[in-house]
Amino acid sequence: MKIYVPMDSAAKALGADAVAGALIAEAKSRGIEIELIRNGTRGMIWLEPLVEVEIDGVRHGFGPASHDDAAAILSGDAACALGPVEDLDWMKKQTRLTFARVGVIDPLDLADYEAHGGLAGLRRAIGMDGAGIVEEVTNSGLRGRGGAGFPTGIKWKTVHDAEAPQKYIVCNADEGDSGTFADRMIMEGDPFTLIEGMAIAGLAVGATRGYVYLRSEYPDAIRVMRRAVEIARASGVLGADVLGSGRSYDMEIRVGAGAYVCGEETSLLNSLEGKRGVVRAKPPLPALEGFLGRPTVVNNVISLATVPVIFEKGAQHYADFGLGRSRGTVTLQIAGNVARGGLFETAFGISLGEVVNDLAGGTATGNPVKAVQVGGPLGAYIPVSNFDAPLGYEELDAKGGLLGHAGLVIFDDRADMLRMARFAMEFCAVESCGKCTPCRIGAVRGVETIDRIAEGDAAAIPLLTDLCETMTDGSLCALGGFTPLPVMSALTHFPNDFATQKEAAE
């Protein structure tokens, strides 16, 4: 009997380890032989811990399961039975390309990975030259999934064309944005796909070394990734002779140290070099002078983890999904006050309202939705009136928003938007690297100015607007540059939250 219990940290946070322990104990007491596999999560976090039992080759789900359900799950009469997992609405409605294997395979079983299409992309890439690989990525239309949406192929071409004795692939796994967990999910659930993507990138641009800069807040992901790199190296996927190609690529996992700003690529590079995580002015681009001053590809986890499937299925297959200039799939992370939260991979273009109301089922509390913050702490608060916005880079931009890493944090009607705006400024003040004045000082003044508004000083509102303009125009990176987005969207769309105190004072 094959049983799956996720080892993803969201599942563990909801008691998956206890469920796994109870299943083993129960099976032992009944003398039933079971093979327990710790998989990644399917992404249906409201059903976690989601136990799957394979019956006649079909995986049947039980969730959310507690350790008390172990006996009933083994007997097949558990109240939390969901039927075949692949038939669940949430699964059927998705287009799983990047996340095809997450939740399906044993994350650290390389043979299982290969049996599900793994390494096919790398093998194909080995048969191509660097320029050919870069062209394939360009043709797929893949854009940086970390938030900026910069075309991945163009970045790779810059590094490919640069001449240097050493080049690097750096994976930005400093997923600090609240509401996002796709990077963590893939690193814990399908680590080899990231390794394969980085190896393809290495072959493409002629980089023989790579680093994953992984945040320290993700201890489980660090363990899985480190182990996966060891396995890949021992199996010849990494090393001096990648899959017998005669070409070399190896990589290492590096751990961040709790600084949000290190998610910005230039401060990440400084941090990786062992310096303060201070932002670098651009130019020079990291593609030309990156890690240790060498040409460096810096890509987000999802961008790199999507590369294998592009090579396995072809650039055109990938580009056939999507909307406008947003090609392929977006890995939506639905979070916060939500009835059905989790990860949903789909073609670009789905509307915000469809995601929040239909897929996610509204709020967890059952109260009406007030706002959704899209794109992390630097993303806008979008009111229900803008729920028709299609989720694509340009499309959301047109609505004054930012798709970012595609995290959606849902708030119910109890949310105080002045308080959320204040938090955005406070967060920026805490996390500012200190290099540029608009961010370092502006965020502190922003907190003070919002406090004045809260105390009823209406004159502080134009001051806040002006300050936000300065931060937007004058900051060196996205931290200071986009903090005004949540602040101003809160102020613009929810003026009542900024006015009640004033009226009370009058």
């Binding site: 909801l14 967990f181 961040g256």
Partner: protein
């Protein structure tokens, strides 16, 4: 983790283990903190000398990152998420109540030395908020009862 006074051999061993890396400073600091539960003052000079950087530069790096501590923490470190997704699920009230219960402010350690409470900005558990982490163990949908159980486990 140990809280004994750091000895020079141990410090040198930690440095030697990572010195060959490209960009060795963060790995050295992490290893130092794993060994001593903080970055001991006694380690500053040997690190600076090994990497040929000034002690001022080293101090700049250590103080830049939230993770590195100049003094050992309590026996357990409890991190409570303060980010937006957790706020949407009552995380702020939970954090305030926990700190009040322990009579602590952020970064404070309980009188009996059992637990240090740190803020964290996102554990990636945003679909099962509010979230916390005791040591390396993550906990989701934390309510008062779950928090009490965690505090009891930590001996606070």
């Amino acid at each position: 983790m140990q809280e004994t006074a750091p000895n020079t051999d141990e410090i040198d061993a930690v440095i030697a283990q990572h010195q060959h890396l490209e960009g060795p400073l963060l790995p050295i600091l992490h290893a130092m903190q794993e060994t001593f539960d903080h970055i001991p003052d006694a380690a500053h000079r040997p690190i600076a000398e090994a990497l040929n950087i000034s002690r001022a530069e080293l101090h700049g790096v250590i103080s830049f990152y939230h993770d590195f501590r100049a003094k050992p923490a309590g026996r357990h470190v409890l991190k409570i998420c303060r980010a937006e997704a957790c706020q949407a699920m009552g995380g702020t009230a939970l954090a305030e109540a926990t700190l009040a219960k322990l009579g602590l402010d952020w970064h404070g350690t309980s009188v009996n030395g059992a637990v240090t409470v740190e803020p964290v900005y996102c554990l990636g558990l945003c679909a099962c908020a509010p979230a916390a982490m005791l040591g390396d163990r993550v906990v989701g949908r934390v309510d008062e009862a779950r928090m009490d159980a965690l505090l009891q486990e930590a001996g606070a």
